[in-house]
Amino acid sequence: MGTLIMHIDMDSYFASVEQQANPHLRGKPIVVSGRPYIHSVVAAASKEAKRYGIRSGMTTWEARKLCPHVIFVPGSPEKYETMTRRFLEILIRYTPMVEVYSIDEVFMDISQEALRWGGPLALAKRIQAEFRRELGEWITCSIGIAPNKMLAKLAVEEAKPAGIRWIHPEEEPEILEKTPVEAVCGIGPRIAKRLHHMGIWKLADLSRFPERYLRQAFGVYGTTLYLWGRGLDPTPLIPYWQEEEVKSVGHSHAIPRTLRHPEGARSVLLYLCERTGRRLRAKGLAGRVIHFGFRDAEMRWRAKQRALDVPTDDDETIFQTALDLCEELGGFPAETTLVGVRVASLVPKGETPRPLLPWERRREKLLVALDRIKDRYGEKAIWRGSVYACSMLTEATGGMGRQKEIALSFKGAA
């Protein structure tokens, strides 16, 4: 038996966790989203809601139109994070070759372990049974098995919901002939459109196209496309213990209707800068490049970045730089629907110059004191008055994609 990759995808994850926690929600169309008064998107729809055509990424307004009696449940990131940690603990019992792909998706290399557990199918069934027993009956997963990650991800789509699909090597030619290019994770609508213009509709069409033409059109990515067309995948599995440290730290958030005016957007930006600075300090990092962006009422995204002379982890510096960038973009529009800030080019804080000016040293001490209060008594223990209006944002669904940090925390514990 050659390489065997298992892809585990939790079914309607956030919604299933909520249904597991609250039996009143079971069997009903529910949607996990931000708080009801925040203009929000569907983070997850239950199996019952999906029957009405509700899908992740839709606006809550669209979801309600499709199913007027749908129940909106505010997202609870700590619930999903706890459950992700628990299912990872189960998987790591079988193999250390586990890649945390997202908060609800995992790749495992089971080439060595499958035989010991009676083959890949028996292993997959065992994992599903353990999830049911240890996580709960309502939290189910679908499992795809194939010789590589790309095919395993295709397999899992056929396995949904709660099934298992194993793509054997002899099936590959038929699958490549029938699978549309846009079904592959990594081929988005824009690339698919370009491929269609080139007469490439199915995966197998990619292998019939000369590789050099694909490289001319798509650069290095052209080779990946060519290999996918032949049922190969150059993407390696990166186990959680090889996960690289973070390359940037940042936050973005959809803005509730009441805060979409320029002053409100400014408050949300300050709040996000504080959270970014706090995370940088907790990791002992500082960053030199500040990225800032916002989305207006017409859903246009505008963004700009600036490199600082000295790396920073200071909330105020991040905020003032982001504000400068905002001014360069013409300022916040009358209605801002989303704002984001990110700090990149990270270095360890210890490698950055110490502050020379007294007011800089005072400010650093103040931040340390604030961090200590929050570490001890929680994030809500102390607030700036100017971001108090943002308290409604804290439990919304933003920040649920913390798979990298979860993987890194497992790495630290290993």
């Binding site: 966790v17 597991q20 926690a21 609250n22 039996p23 009143h24 009903k28 009696h69 749908v70 129940i71 609870s76 700590e78 619930k79 706890t82 459950m83 628990r86 709960g136 929050k374 570490d375 001890r376 008594y377 929680g378 994030e379 223990a381």
Partner: protein, 85 residues
């Protein structure tokens, strides 16, 4: 929807040798003894340095959230789930 309660309670629990979390079996609340019939889900939350364990349970037919404050070793009825939709 969870209607907050946040009241401390006298609670009986098992601390199993081979499970991750303690398991509540019964508690006294508002002058009445409740028997925990099923634990649906346990999740963790950090409030500063304090680790909280939150239990969604059915107790004598009521759906409740219990909270265990690991720093103070105290149990609370955190809230009551109210049916909607």
């Amino acid at each position: 929807m969870l209607r907050p309660v946040k009241q401390p309670v006298d609670l009986e629990a098992i601390f199993p040798a081979h499970a991750l979390y303690p398991r509540p079996t019964g508690f006294r609340w508002q002058g009445r003894h409740y028997r925990v019939q099923e634990v649906h889900l346990v999740h963790e939350r950090w409030e500063g340095a304090t680790r909280l364990l939150l239990y969604s349970v059915t107790a004598d037919g009521s759906l409740l959230q219990l909270r265990y404050d690991t720093a103070r070793a105290r149990w609370y009825v955190d809230g009551v789930y109210v049916e909607e939709g």
